[in-house]
Symmetry: C2
Subunit: 348 residues, 2 copies
């Protein structure tokens, strides 16, 4: 059984119309409705024939006999590929986004605002994640004694991210010990990748273990306390706009599971990193999220890497219902990704 005309212009037009109508109304769309709204005066019967073909091709399905047709993931996929060329951002969105992000030079702040503005311009949740990234090189460390056995470690990386961590040590170090240790690290390891610093530091500590070296003892203590944990996965994950989902046609339980999942930020982070490839530059639209996360049936991920020059500094995305304004959202994500490069590029 060949599929004649499955991607002919008429089929495409009708499929597009079905997807768009379904997106805006949320109800299965029937041949008659479509015939009325379509400019070319095709009769319902004709449309029915085409629809039957599209259903055979896996683009449409029926909730039950004698309801209208509903687009499948495959149809959304096709639709998105179709429109992805002619995407221009609306002036209103552009203004809102620019105004929100203008003048931001801090990555954290940029990401936070991004998640917020994405939740405003889309009908999904806005997500933004910062990457530790390869440039996670040591710039400066500082230790401050707070109280008995308590030390605050501050680690600044080359890329301008600050990690701070209060530690409880087994032995009490006084501030001059701490200063000596900090100086040692700053002088020896400035510019090193942090995980390398840790490894090398460990090596040196082991090596000197036998000797009574006050400095090495301090370093060991600090090392064990986790002073250099700055190479661990970034915790800067911003998720906003969960309220957008509450209007959805999910039932209570589904909705609760969904919200719960979104509150587990690590899962959201995993999702993004699973789908957003460093090398790929463009906006990516992932349809059929339920394969990775069952509770996200009927949800879509529209995301892009946030890069500065060639380097990937994070990811930004919208997670929203399959029934969403794709053009709108895709252009917004794309525009913000460009702004990211523009505003944070260090050579400007």
């Amino acid at each position: 059984m060949p599929n004649p005309g499955q991607i002919g212009p008429r089929e495409r037009e009708i499929l597009t119309a079905i997807v768009e109508t379904y997106i805006s109304t949320g109800e299965p769309v029937g041949s008659r409705t479509l015939s009325r709204q379509n400019k070319d005066g095709l009769s319902p019967a004709t449309i029915r024939n085409v629809m039957a073909d599209l259903a055979d091709g896996g683009f449409l399905e029926q909730p039950h006999t004698s309801a209208g047709r509903v687009p499948t993931s495959q149809a959304y996929r096709y639709y998105v590929d179709q429109i992805s060329g002619r995407a221009t951002i609306s002036p209103a969105d552009q203004t809102l986004i620019s105004d929100t992000l203008q003048g931001t030079v801090d990555v954290q702040e940029f990401l936070e605002r991004t998640s917020h503005v994405l939740s405003l311009v889309s009908s999904g949740v806005g997500v933004a994640i910062g990457n530790a990234g390869p440039k996670n090189a040591l710039e400066h460390v500082y230790f401050s004694r707070q109280a008995n056995n308590r030390v605050l470690a501050v680690v600044v990386t080359k890329s301008g991210v600050v990690h701070d961590r209060m530690m409880r040590l087994e032995r009490d170090l006084d501030q001059s010990d701490l200063n000596t240790a900090a100086n040692y690290i700053n002088e020896n390891f400035r510019g090193w990748i942090i995980s390398n610093v840790k490894a090398e530091l460990r090596r040196r500590i082991e090596q000197e273990r036998s000797e009574y070296d006050r400095l090495m003892k301090s370093l060991e203590e600090l090392y064990k306390g986790g002073a250099l944990a700055a190479d661990e996965p970034a915790k800067n994950i911003f998720v906003e706009g969960v309220a957008n989902l509450v209007g959805n046609d999910q039932d209570r339980e589904r909705l609760r599971d969904l919200v719960k999942t979104l509150e587990e930020k690590e899962r959201v982070a995993d999702l993004l990193s699973a789908y957003l490839d460093t090398r790929q530059e463009a906006v990516r639209v992932v349809i059929g999220l339920e394969e990775a996360v069952p509770e996200m049936r009927n949800f879509v991920l529209i995301g892009a890497p946030a890069r500065v020059g060639e380097e990937m500094r994070g990811s930004l995305a919208v997670i929203g219902p399959t029934r969403m304004d794709y053009q709108h959202t895709i252009t917004a994500v794309s525009y913000i990704a460009q702004l990211f490069d523009k505003l944070l590029n260090e050579n400007t």
Copy 2:
């Protein structure tokens, strides 16, 4: 019309029974149900009489004629006051909370975990807020040049909180300028309250304006860039467990507004600071939240200040439905407040 026996032992018992039944079932409770479950074999008719009195007193209301009675805010208030004495935490909660918070020495981390564990043990959202507090004194500043005109400012306070901020300056300062400026601030102002540092710095800059002082020029630039913004309201607000609310009997729109409100963290912060008095030590239960925030009709705030010794370092709270397990939640909040003092007290 006097209210005879309005707070007599029988009335109290019946009111308590009504509140508890309503909390667990969620349905208006009628005289017959109550009569069956009540140990003392009071007949429905008797209970009806008492209920009528309680309704007159403003403790009960009916959704419609011939439905059961539903407790009013006043009834919850009375109920909470009643049980507030005999509160002992359940071993399960105690274990969960201890395990989650044990070993935490970092205020931020404590607060984050607190909001999480509160959302687990209650049927509401867990909220935890850190206070800049009076002890917001300068410990150490550090400036790092990142790129053209871009400087990272790191401010560490005595209480161990780290504020970092990427700034874009009008003039480019090189790293040695920055070091000089940082040294100046560290040597002159260590231990000062940060807002005082700002004021004094401003004074000195103004005073020296006429002269060509390289240091002062740098300081002015940094000052204008907001290097010492660490005295601004804390942004460490943790809200978790919104999913808990989704199971609620709110309608869609109400629910959405509610979630939206909870996502505006400043509003949540305002709410807490409005109701949690520094001087008051105990857990506070605020019933009738809708007066402050209309979308929070049928919600309750159960909170306590988080203090270390005499000093208030933050607030922690549960915001949940009026229909919640008060005893459970109150004891949990109280227990965490105690743990806060115990774990973060610097003299231990």
